[in-house]
């Protein structure tokens, strides 16, 4: 058969010599390589104790933001849902009634806001689309769960703690970057 390239090499079928048949030299060679790795830098990160730093553009779990006065920023405009390529975001809008001015920033707010984490691909387009700076992708990821039910994230899961009443939890949720 004609070779297509010149890279093919004929197999050496010469019988092995005595030294080669002992395999000892090759075993020692291999052991040397293994031994030399003991002095190299370890690439392993011992995960739960030691955490790897995320890249600054990491896109993790969503956070629904509040303003300085602790009011929810989201007005249920639906731009995140329309931008979402995975159709993971759904919401129900409601009108703010008298007495709720301290809870919601605008006249309209999201009474229900849900992200289906099973569908979400963490592309961050919702964050880009939001005109009210209401949704952010944080630097944590969605924890594992045994059932699919646990991945429908509603407002209680997504809302950032109130900066006025739960200042420390708010600071923690905001992360190191902010």
């Amino acid at each position: 058969m004609q070779a297509l390239t010149n890279k093919a090499q004929a197999v050496n079928r010469k019988p092995m010599t005595f030294l080669e048949r002992l395999y000892l030299i090759n075993i020692i060679k291999g052991m040397m390589i293994t031994f030399s790795h003991m002095f190299k830098k370890q690439p392993t990160i011992r995960y739960p104790e030691e955490k790897r730093e995320f890249s600054p553009v990491f896109r993790g779990l969503h956070v629904l933001n509040r303003d300085e006065e602790g009011r929810e920023r989201c007005t249920a405009c639906g731009l995140c849902a329309v931008a979402c390529p995975a159709e993971a975001i759904t919401m129900e809008a409601a009108e703010r009634v008298e007495g709720e001015e301290g809870l919601y920033r605008e006249e309209k707010y999201a009474a229900k806001y849900e992200i289906n984490m099973l569908r979400c691909i963490f592309c961050g387009l919702c964050e880009d689309a939001c005109p009210k700076d209401a949704i952010y992708l944080s630097e944590t990821f969605a924890p594992a769960n045994f059932t699919r039910k646990g991945f429908i994230y509603g407002k209680p899961d997504l809302l950032i703690p109130n900066p006025l009443t739960e200042a420390s939890a708010f600071a923690e949720a905001k992360g190191v970057e902010a």
Binding site: C77, A94, E95, A111, P131
Partner: protein, 374 residues
Amino acid sequence: MSEQTLFKVTVDGITIEVPAGTTILQAARQIGGEVAPPAMCYYSKLKGSGGKCRTCLVEVSKGSEKDPRPMPKLVASCRTTVMDGMEVKNITSEKVVDARAGVVEFLLLNHPLDCPICDQAGECHLQDLSFDHGKSKTRFEFQKRTFKKHDLGENIQLHMTRCILCYRCVFTADQLTNKRVHGILDRGDHAEIATHIEKSLDNEFIGNVIDVCPVGALTDKTFRFKNRVWFLKPMDAHRDCPTCSGRVTLWNRGDEVYRVTARKDEWGEIEDTPEGNPGWICNTCRFDKKEATDWVIEGPRAISRASVISQGHYEGNVGTTLPTETFKAVNGGRTPHLLMDIHDESEVNQPNIHLGQINGASHGNTFNNKTENA
């Protein structure tokens, strides 16, 4: 042919013959496409409308065959009739593009940027206009005008801050109803749409002011904050209505009717009925018939691909017929027992809450029945 004299008019290099007395805007609309100037106040179905917003300004580079001098200033194409041999420049004229950007800037001076809240968003002419012709920056550094809130009754919501004073709703009330109760009060910066001494608009045809409003100043209270228009499914439907044509567009979520509007053509105006009359619809059709059984559904409404409303809508019968479930057939009659029904978990779009039936906006407690028990 007819004894009507036909005038030759050229808009952006495209020549068309139109009868004498046609406005430049109408001639340009007959050509169609980008050549047609935008219009915020002019409404072909309303007599006397136009000439207020100045968005339809065009340059007349040649007055007519007999008097070929250009017109000294840009003219409002909705109010200027064509002359024989007239040459009009619309998008090909730099002056027009610049003037239109200026007009948009003026219209947006006092217009609040509350599109995320506004129910008109997605079908708003001012959104389209500023997207197509406006600049992305504002030079306005002052307080926008605000108004005392007026209540126009239980069906129509007025947001005076959004109004651009196009007078379309005034003409609608004049020409469709026997007695107009709302109008423009005061002058200049204080001019506002209102009824004199708090009246409610309750004529049977007054709901059409919602459809003619180019912005979100007059919106449907029965649809208030229910959903964004681009998540709804527009369907052509009709019913046998004793007062009006009964030809409408239903805006559905699933089988639920969220909103009823008249059918709108490519210029955002109400479509004509087959008999040739404008297809205004009555308040009963618009506000009270929110059951799917009230209507005979003709099929999905064709929406321009450029519109956000066309997102998620597909060609053909998708959305009108339910897909057939194949799981049982391919699994020997067994039903799936590991699949999750999204309604078990999700609090959005709950099957027991019928938003279309709620008169007025929903509030927090509308949705909370399920969560508080769980």
